[in-house]
Symmetry: C2
Subunit: 357 residues, 2 copies
């Protein structure tokens, strides 16, 4: 597997976004968001998707010169119409508003309509950390997941990220799909022609299966829990909340109407809203408690869990966000490995835009 | 199984709380919260726990004449010191503040320290519904759950409830423990001497087991997901967020320091905060979008999911909160069934306080 330096990928990605018509600042932020996935080891959401964004732009589903605007607000809330912008641009725009509101009144909550896929949820939640705030980020996504007891794909993998600052310890960063397994993990199994564990996917009849391709053959991904006996109604409930907060609250499409990420599938004609939706929150720590006091206890919380007794065969208890942070340090140092199909994809993109890769 | 009318149980429970020294209004609200569990079919959290609350009061861990007060606030946030009140009283007090803040600035967020167990999470979240707000409620609880890869019980079953108003449809009410199965479900298996499904509990070595008593024998409940391969790190992450929001943000005890519900176990001597903690939120729908418009789409969301194709062997796709609402209608009409040990427990309580049951 070839390794590329972050700088190299950053320059290339930024050039592509500029060629698509993004302003310099939009291209820079979109690049930072997209590549944060590669740095953190969530390879499915990073540069491997760049050509997907290009195809959406070619299909005129992404507006690279958008007029983002607040269409409704209160002291602690806002709704943003993203004007079909890249989600990679719309999400930081909205999160900044949430942070500004939190500065004013303690917390800020922003729902976004008319957007596109926004990269990893974690990037946006983590924007709050440097302001000594808790950050929250969620988005709906193309329908791939069946609710418990159903054979219909009605929800996306609808991720939730919650980032919480600490003192001397690294921040706590939960970033999770509300399914048993993220779609990216299934794609890896598909490429390797391997089986999936039971509880990840169901076939077109709603029967759990080890066929990693089942979702592409009329089946669906399963909500966290896998089946009713193991709490899949909870994963379904959480995915539903993400859908409702992101889209019913903002005016975006929800459920089966969420536009697909792949450009060759047309969005639903009888849409129920605009684009797809996100939801963000920022809560100022000192709107609740002295910041230093909070951080002392947060450090204690993290150390208590880090030092918990480990069960046999395992190395340590992991704090959410820890492996991603370690991966980022490693990849900034040693480069980002890209699979051959991804490299070929980027070479094609380079050619299309008369760039080098 | 004997059935009791809601009125009968209400009068009795209210009398008990008054005998414990609660004011009439505190006794009334504590009763309403406690019995909402019985009405909604969450029998483990209802009147079956009344004697547990009495024992906590006898152990001087519950203050029935508390001075609840706001100790920190901003326009959209507050922290409440519950003065060791019944959680059944502290939680509605805090939720009302969240609702008032939401009226003023769009949303309200209240963390509570120095509290006790608060009944079902759903009651408090649902308080927001009549104000056309989304309600959020969570609490930490006695440590019973091991984080992924650990043998130590560091988290409670830490429930999350989110209540969302609809128009003509019934509201969406998610109310879930962040474990695969609630402790109450294990207690039922224990009483019937039955095995638990794999993925619910682990033994003292951290190995998943069908022994429903494992948690009492040095084992632990498992986070939603059950094991790493099925996403237990997500259930652990969600339980952790509930713990941090409820306690690290408020000043309550977190992790292994959360005081046990049972009075015969002493709270940790080197506590890291006061009592246990809760976290509440209220978001005004019209701080985001016209209320009627929201409700039209929420109804459409609910109908779309209700009418989704059902997999073989199942009856229908369930909207979170639907079964509980149906149970409530049925029990208000036909009475609430109580198991013999619960009836005997209540008869003993009656005797202790010179009441009739």
């Amino acid at each position: 597997m070839q390794h590329y330096s972050y700088e190299e990928l950053r320059t290339f990605t930024c050039n592509i976004f500029q060629k698509m018509g993004c302003s310099n600042s939009d291209a820079a932020i979109a690049t930072e968001v997209l590549l944060s996935a590669d740095l953190r080891g969530i390879d499915s959401h990073g540069i491997a998707r760049l050509s997907g964004y290009v195809r959406l732009w070619e299909a005129k589903r992404i507006n690279t010169a958008p007029q983002l605007k607040i269409i409704h607000e209160s002291p602690s809330t806002a709704v943003v119409d993203a004007d079909a912008a890249l989600g990679l641009v719309a999400a930081p725009f909205a999160m900044k508003i949430a942070i500004e509101k939190a500065k004013q009144v303690g917390t800020g909550w922003v729902a976004v309509e008319n957007s596109n896929h926004y990269g990893i949820a974690g990037y946006h939640a983590m924007m709050a950390l440097e302001h000594d705030m808790i950050g929250i980020s969620m988005t709906n996504a193309s329908p791939l997941v069946a609710p418990t007891f159903s054979t219909e794909r009605l929800l996306g993998t609808n991720p939730i990220s919650i980032a919480i600052p600490a003192g001397k310890e690294s921040p706590f960063v939960l970033d999770m799909a509300t399914t048993t397994a993220a779609n990216g993990k299934l794609e890896i199994l598909q490429r390797k022609n391997m089986n999936a564990p039971l509880g990840w996917v169901q076939d077109k009849n709603g029967v759990t299966t080890t066929n990693a391709n089942a979702a592409k053959e009329g089946g669906a991904l399963l909500p966290l829990g896998g089946d009713r006996e193991h709490g899949s109604h909870k994963g379904y409930g959480l995915g539903a909340v993400v859908d409702i907060f992101s889209a019913v609250l903002s005016g975006a499409n929800y459920g089966p109407w969420v536009p697909p990420f792949v450009a060759f599938l047309k969005p639903s004609e009888n849409s129920v809203g605009k684009g797809l939706g996100h939801f963000f929150g920022a809560m100022r720590i000192d709107a609740f408690r002295d910041g230093a006091e909070f951080k002392t206890h947060m450090d204690n919380w993290i150390r208590t869990f880090k030092n918990a007794k480990v069960s046999e065969g395992n190395k340590r208890v992991i704090i959410p966000g820890e492996p991603e942070m370690e991966m980022q340090q490693e990849r900034l140092k040693n480069g980002i490995p890209l699979l051959e199909p991804v490299v070929n994809d980027l070479k094609e993109l380079a050619q299309k835009f008369s760039l080098k890769f």
